[in-house]
């Protein structure tokens, strides 16, 4: 098998099906590694990685850090809140300063769509996009698809519905690309105001009734309402949203089949899903988190293999 077709991981849109399968196969091996008594391999001991987080994150940041540490890379962390960005430094200047300290790879989360691509064209390091505004969040989509593959055996032919704030969600867009490349059918479900106008051009079904969407699907990926990105009111109240698009145990049990419930986190319990659903047997939310480390190890390992010395 060949190496990845890309030099950076900017978005799932740039990947081929073979790339995704290579990442999954590599992640299988890393999943075995992180369940060993000693969860660390020395592959990347000569690589330095900078984690640049211009936006808040818990899971993704910890997951990337753990992945890097388990590959024995050296890491430096940076968050916007405590940096010179506040003093007016530009993105390229910030990153070039970090790179002159001999960094080989940059993992970046940024509030502006396209920030990762912009950076990859201007600096000499491998870039991994850890979320750029409302654009893409490729490692999340990879770990979601990987978790579906683990739970259901395969992604091809499966029906996946993404529920919630599709308009502001980078997870939704990356998931649509990833699932479609692997041969799954995708539907989006949410209030019309939170569904992008031209989304059906991506080849996804659109549904405004949650029950109908759930009856159609094998997997439901429940997204959070991204209030921090909503500049105007898109629906009357969270309570109304929750009544129409929230998944509770009664609704889940009333379906005539066992669907798989996913959530990329952070969960707003009681809004998009209730606690008993999040903690139910059908939920694979914590498996997603575990798989996240293996997927990120695979992505970093494969990209690091392309660094010339």
């Amino acid at each position: 098998m060949d190496n990845l077709s890309v030099e950076h991981l900017i978005g799932i849109k740039d990947l081929t099906k073979q790339d995704i399968e290579l990442i999954f196969k590599t992640a299988d091996s890393f999943k075995e590694v992180i369940n060993r008594p000693i969860k660390k391999v020395p592959s990347l001991r000569d690589i330095t990685i900078a984690n640049l987080f211009f936006e808040n994150s818990t899971r993704t940041r910890l997951s990337f850090e753990l992945a890097e540490k388990r590959l024995s890379a050296d890491i430096v962390n940076f968050s916007a809140a405590s940096s010179s960005v506040k003093k007016g430094e530009t993105l390229v200047d910030t990153v070039n300063n970090i790179l002159s300290m001999k960094v080989d790879m940059v993992v970046m989360r940024h509030p502006n769509p396209g920030a990762a691509k912009f950076l990859s064209e201007r600096v000499d390091a491998k870039i991994v996009n850890a979320g750029d505004g409302t654009h893409e969040h490729p490692t999340q989509a990879l770990l979601d698809a990987y978790s579906i593959r683990e739970k259901l055996g395969d992604v091809a032919g499966k029906k996946v519905v993404i529920v919630g704030d599709i308009l502001h969600s980078r997870v939704a867009l990356s998931n649509i690309f990833c699932l479609q490349k692997l041969g799954a059918e995708v539907m989006v479900c949410g209030p019309t105001t939170l569904i992008p106008k031209y989304i059906s051009e991506l080849g996804v079904k659109v549904e405004n009734n949650l029950r109908k969407a759930l009856e159609w699907c094998d997997v439901a990926n429940m997204l959070r309402i991204q209030l921090e990105r909503q500049d105007i009111k898109y629906f009357p109240s969270l309570r109304e949203y929750s009544m129409l698009f929230g998944l509770d145990k009664a609704l889940l049990d009333s379906l005539n089949k066992d669907i798989v419930v996913m959530h990329p986190g952070p969960i707003n319990r009681g809004v998009e899903i209730t606690s008993d659903v999040a903690d139910s047997k059908q939920s694979i939310i914590l498996n997603q988190v575990e798989n996240g480390v293996a997927i990120r190890m695979a992505v970093i390992y494969l990209l690091a293999g392309k660094i010339d010395r």
């Binding site: 098998m1 075995e32 590694v33 060993r36 008594p37 391999v41 020395p42 390992y301 494969l302 293999g305």
Partner: protein
């Protein structure tokens, strides 16, 4: 390319049997010993030895497969990334005697990585090495095998391939020599 058969199928069986007897001589009933095959091709040697040993001893011998991809010292010096195989060691090797098993011992670098990888599963009391074919005098590291199926003298341009009836259809060891070689 010139091909030479250095071990035929009859000789192959004899060699495996002799290696079993040597192992039994040193490890008795294998109560404190585990056999670990290196992925991918060392596992073939392991599978066959395990079968023979269990027939002779009449009991199960603990075995595992170890992949050393992430421990190699030539990561990023190759054209393509190495695709790992599965590691399958479902026991702790702490205080056990370990016999590492590979099909061909050449530069010793795979074994070096194997020793490193092994430590992730505990601290063995001792580690030995079994090589089905030893390309002697070609070592780049100070590593020697304790059990050797056959020692061969080879040139660097040559290639040694151990073939198995389960995979290639016949048990044999082949030596490939490029025709332009004057050695």
């Amino acid at each position: 390319m010139e091909t030479q058969e250095i071990i035929n199928s009859r000789h192959f069986e004899l060699t495996l049997n002799r290696l079993c007897q040597e192992l039994i001589e040193n490890h008795g009933d294998f109560s404190e010993t585990v056999l670990i095959g290196l992925q991918p091709r060392g596992v073939n040697v392991l599978t066959r030895l395990k079968k023979l040993l269990e027939t002779i001893l009449g009991k199960e011998v603990k075995c595992g497969a170890l992949d050393i991809t992430f421990y190699r010292d030539d990561f990023r010096r190759r054209e393509r990334p190495l695709i790992p195989s599965a590691t399958n060691i479902d026991f702790v090797i702490e205080k056990k005697k370990v016999v590492l098993i590979d099909d061909v011992l050449y530069t010793g670098r795979t074994i070096r990585a194997g020793l490193d990888a092994l430590l992730a599963f505990g601290r063995p009391s001792e580690v030995e090495l079994l090589a089905f074919v030893d390309r002697r005098f070609k070592r780049e590291l100070p590593i020697q095998a304790d059990y050797i199926g056959k020692a061969v003298d080879t040139l660097n341009e040559e290639r040694v391939s151990v073939e198995w009836k389960e995979i290639e259809g016949e048990d044999k060891v082949l030596l490939f020599t490029p025709t332009n070689s004057n050695g």
